[in-house]
């Protein structure tokens, strides 16, 4: 339903007659001096790069991801070691974003925090997409009981405010001794995934419902191809684009969800820094040290915008049909 962002409003009118691909081999109808890529992926990439903000978003995510992953090389400071002489210093050339209540460099903690926040986003998304695709494909293809069950179940889950259910789930999951991953990260990932796979499932189901009526599926069946193969080798690739877009957007929403939970105190526990729990900590110091509240949130904001733009770009790139 969303027609995207105004990156296209700057004067370049993309006529809908330009590229109408239902299959990858259609030649563009208007004359063009540029040679357009011919492969599906290449074409998609070309379309993606036309979307300026999406490219910018991709760059931002890449830079942030790299900086976080390589945080120990990027920053000379130790994110955990307290230095009580430097409590709550304002941003300065020595500490670009200031220090926190235990004298630790804020930028360093944000970078290390990025590791957790970004990984949780990606892991939760992966889990949700895997579960959602599996269930949604089964429901959409086989219909019947599975479909019914899925629909009833999603109705059930959607009737309870997600935040409440999330908090309950986290309390439950935390009580099982989950080893490795400090601060209950695994519990958070599981909880978020368990509550977001339904949207993916519904999406996949819808795709499958329409795709399974297509001729190529009939043909495959006539040839005696088994159901499993049909689902995986034939239908799924065609359903891939909305899944990819949904997955990307899911990363953004997972990051926000994790931050929100940590902000309320149910997310990742200190000392492991995440952007969310750094914001929570900053609440006491808002008057004396507002930078401790402004910057972690700013990073969440910028990351989420960037990912959303990438998602938008992907949507344009993979499914230009929605452009009207």
């Amino acid at each position: 339903m969303d027609s995207g962002v105004g990156g296209r409003g700057s004067g370049v009118r993309t006529s809908t007659a330009l590229v109408v691909d239902r299959t990858p081999d259609t030649q563009p109808l208007t004359p063009s001096s540029r040679v357009r890529p011919q492969t599906m992926v290449g074409l998609a990439w070309w379309r993606f790069t036309r979307h300026r903000m999406a490219v910018a978003g991709l760059l931002v995510v890449a830079v942030l991801g790299a900086a976080s992953a390589l945080a120990s090389w990027v920053s000379p400071y130790d994110p955990d070691k307290p230095d009580l002489q430097l409590q709550l210093r304002a941003p300065s050339p020595v500490h670009l974003l200031g220090t926190d209540d235990l004298g630790r460099d804020l930028l360093t903690r944000i970078l290390y925090g990025g590791r957790i926040s970004l990984s949780i986003g990606v892991l939760a998304m992966t889990l949700a997409v895997l579960m959602g695709t599996a269930v949604g494909a089964a429901a959409g293809y086989y219909g019947g009981a599975i479909d019914n069950l899925l629909m009833r179940f999603t109705d059930l889950m959607l009737s309870i405010p997600a935040l409440f259910l999330l908090i309950l789930l986290i309390l439950v999951l935390r009580s099982f001794p989950l080893p490795f991953l400090r601060g209950g990260v695994l519990a958070i990932v599981l909880a978020i995934a368990l509550l977001s796979w339904m949207t993916v499932a519904r999406l996949v189901r819808a795709s499958f419902l329409s795709l399974k009526e297509q001729v190529f599926v009939e043909a495959a069946r006539a040839l005696g191809v088994g159901n499993g193969r049909i689902i995986i080798r034939h239908i799924l690739p065609n359903a891939a684009s909305p899944i990819i877009v949904a997955a990307t957007l899911r990363v953004a929403s997972s990051i926000i969800t994790e931050s929100g939970l940590s902000f309320l105190g149910f997310g990742v526990q200190p000392p492991t820094p995440t952007w969310g729990n750094m914001l929570k900590n900053a609440q006491d110091q808002m008057i004396t040290a507002p930078w401790t509240a402004i910057f972690p949130g700013l990073f969440i904001f910028v990351t989420v915008i960037a990912i959303n733009y990438v998602g938008d770009g992907l949507r344009d790139a993979l499914d230009p049909r929605h452009l009207r």
Binding site: D80, P82, Q87, L102, R182, G265, P270, P271, D284
Partner: protein
């Protein structure tokens, strides 16, 4: 006048002057009558019934109207409240075997509805507490009472079945038989929302979520008091809002501040801060038993000590490696006192020397104890007493989630320990989990932990705390259904003997000595490491007079003396 006459006159004047000078000056001679005092609480009380309530807020409210036979003063000593005097051997209030206590009521005591206060009300209070259906929490001591006899309406004779050392702490709230109800229905009494008491005030109204109004009790025993015409308890949404309100003067008393609030409020015009060391001590509780065992009793603990913490040298090293003063200075704004032992204030206080901060000595001790530095700075066992060679010097540190001060302290502790080669790793849990029951599988009760950080405090009478936490028979095991608070699973003969002595001795000095002996053992052996003693911090406006800080009781303990300028 002749010289003799002059001399006589001068002497007379001198005598008169001396007499006047020594005349007991009334406490607040210029107390103005009238005025409404507003008291801010950031927590709404659950119930005002003194024997069901668990929240501190409930007690901060019911103090204005509910009183007991005795009170506790700022010095931690008992004083008579409804009783004429504190029962003792000397005045015959306590029998030779210590099992019969006699209280005499002050004259002319009346409830706030005009009914006389009688011994029968004390008997009723006891009956309500011990009634199996009444839902009373904390029945210890009351269960040991055989009878409450009333030889006259103003004489109360309490006979204990067995000697109960903290008997003075019982009956700290008396409930009226005629205004309460059937003990079996206690959780549902109307009294719980609108108590009838003997205190200086009586409740006018309670508007849920908003405020509680108290007006003077016209039957109050002290003539001319209280001075205030009303006390309004405002339920504020949060401490933050309370801080704003006291700065603008919309409230007069702000309850329960933390250290980090002080820098903001201290410079504010018209605001006074009351800060005094309280009995709350923040400490590390060390598990002396093997954490893989489930609720091991003492004999099992002796055979299976904690591989790391079982060695007292390691425990000593940990304490030496903590810079307690820095924690106090940097995290608590210097507003706490360094932790020494369980009984650092009160009538039973025992002064012991605080530990030194000596990381070099700590490292030495660890070396001697068989923990050699590893490749990454964390020590590894090599000839350690209980740990297998190759074990890392690594301990789990746990406290409640959502407590910023504790989280900060944990960070500092991790850093201090790193410097002596010990690794702390954190696994905090929500407070219902930390303080959970044996039946619910709580790890603290079952002994599945290494080090736990939290605050607890002894009562005015330290017996239940000292016995509960340090007696060897208070170790929670399956056999006693997890009763007891000796989470450290510490068994010390000297301590046990002295705890028993204190438990059974009616002689207060003997008890003091015994407790001090126990403290000595604790300081030597370190089942708990005391970090700092919290201060009880509150704020009030300077227009308020009559404030007397008393860490042993609630803020309103002397509300009858409060007045406004």
């Amino acid at each position: 006048m002749n010289t003799a006459g002059v001399r006589r006159t001068l002497v007379a004047i001198g005598l008169a002057a001396a007499l006047l000078a020594s005349w007991p000056v009334p406490a607040f001679p210029q107390a103005k009558r009238g005025g409404v005092l507003t008291f801010a609480l950031y927590q709404e009380p659950e119930t005002l019934n003194p024997y069901i309530a668990t929240q501190t807020a409930s007690f901060e409210v019911n103090v204005f109207t509910i009183e007991g036979l005795l009170g506790v003063g700022p010095d931690g000593e008992y004083f008579p409240l409804l009783a004429k005097e504190v029962p003792s051997r000397q005045n015959g209030g306590v029998s030779g075997d210590g099992k019969t206590i006699t209280y005499h009521f002050k004259d002319g005591l009346k409830w706030s509805d005009g009914q006389p206060v009688t011994c029968d009300d004390v008997r009723f209070t006891w009956q309500a507490i011990v009634d199996p259906k009444s839902g009373a929490s904390g029945t210890t001591g009351y269960r040991d009472i055989e009878t409450v006899d009333c030889p006259s309406p103003s004489t109360v004779v309490v006979r204990y079945k067995t000697f109960y050392a903290p008997f003075l702490s019982r009956f700290d709230a008396i409930m009226p038989r005629h205004a309460a109800g059937d003990p079996a229905e206690m959780p549902r009494w109307a009294y719980n929302r609108k108590p009838v008491g003997t205190g200086p005030f009586t409740m006018l109204e309670w508007v849920s979520g908003d405020h509680i109004t108290f007006i003077p009790n016209r039957y109050y025993r002290e003539a001319g008091k209280p001075y205030l015409s009303a006390v309004i308890i405002r339920i504020t949404p949060s401490r933050e809002v309370g801080k704003q309100l006291i700065k603008t003067g919309e409230i007069d008393v702000l309850w329960d501040l933390v250290e980090s609030d002080v820098p903001e409020l201290q410079p504010a015009a018209g605001v006074k801060i009351s800060s005094a060391p309280s009995s709350f001590a923040e400490r590390l509780v060390l598990n002396l038993a093997d954490p893989t065992l489930d609720g091991p009793p003492l004999d099992q603990v002796e055979k299976n000590p904690h591989p790391i913490l079982g060695d007292p040298r390691v425990r000593e090293a940990i304490e030496l490696g903590i810079n307690k003063q820095e924690i106090i200075d940097k995290l608590l704004f210097g507003l706490a006192t360094i932790g020494t032992n369980e009984l650092h204030i009160g009538w039973a206080r025992c002064a012991t020397k605080p530990s030194e901060y000596d990381p070099a000595r700590a490292r030495q001790l660890l070396e001697q104890a068989g923990w050699k530095p590893g490749s990454d700075g964390i020590r590894v066992a090599q000839g350690a007493r209980y740990a297998k060679d190759g074990t890392r010097l690594r301990l789990k540190l746990q406290t409640t989630t959502g407590n910023k001060l504790r989280e900060q302290a944990e960070q500092l502790l991790i850093d201090y320990m790193k410097q002596i080669g010990l690794e702390f790793y954190i696994e905090n849990v929500p407070s219902p989990v930390l303080f959970g029951s044996w039946a619910s599988g709580a790890f603290r009760k079952h002994g599945h932990f290494d080090v736990v950080l939290y605050t607890t405090n002894p009562d005015v009478d330290p017996q239940s705390q000292v016995e509960g936490y340090f007696a060897s028979w208070s170790i929670p095991t399956a056999a006693n259904s997890g009763a007891g608070f000796n989470y450290a699973r510490w068994g010390n003969k000297t301590a046990d003997e002295n705890i028993n002595l204190a438990k059974n001795s009616p002689d207060i000095n003997a008890r003091k000595k015994a407790y001090c002996a126990v403290m000595g053992e604790i300081v030597k052996d370190r089942p708990h490491i005391y970090l700092y003693d919290r201060s009880s911090i509150h704020a009030y406006r300077d227009r308020m007079q009559g404030w007397v800080t008393n860490v042993w009781d609630r803020l309103g303990w002397n509300a009858e003396d409060w007045s406004l300028r």
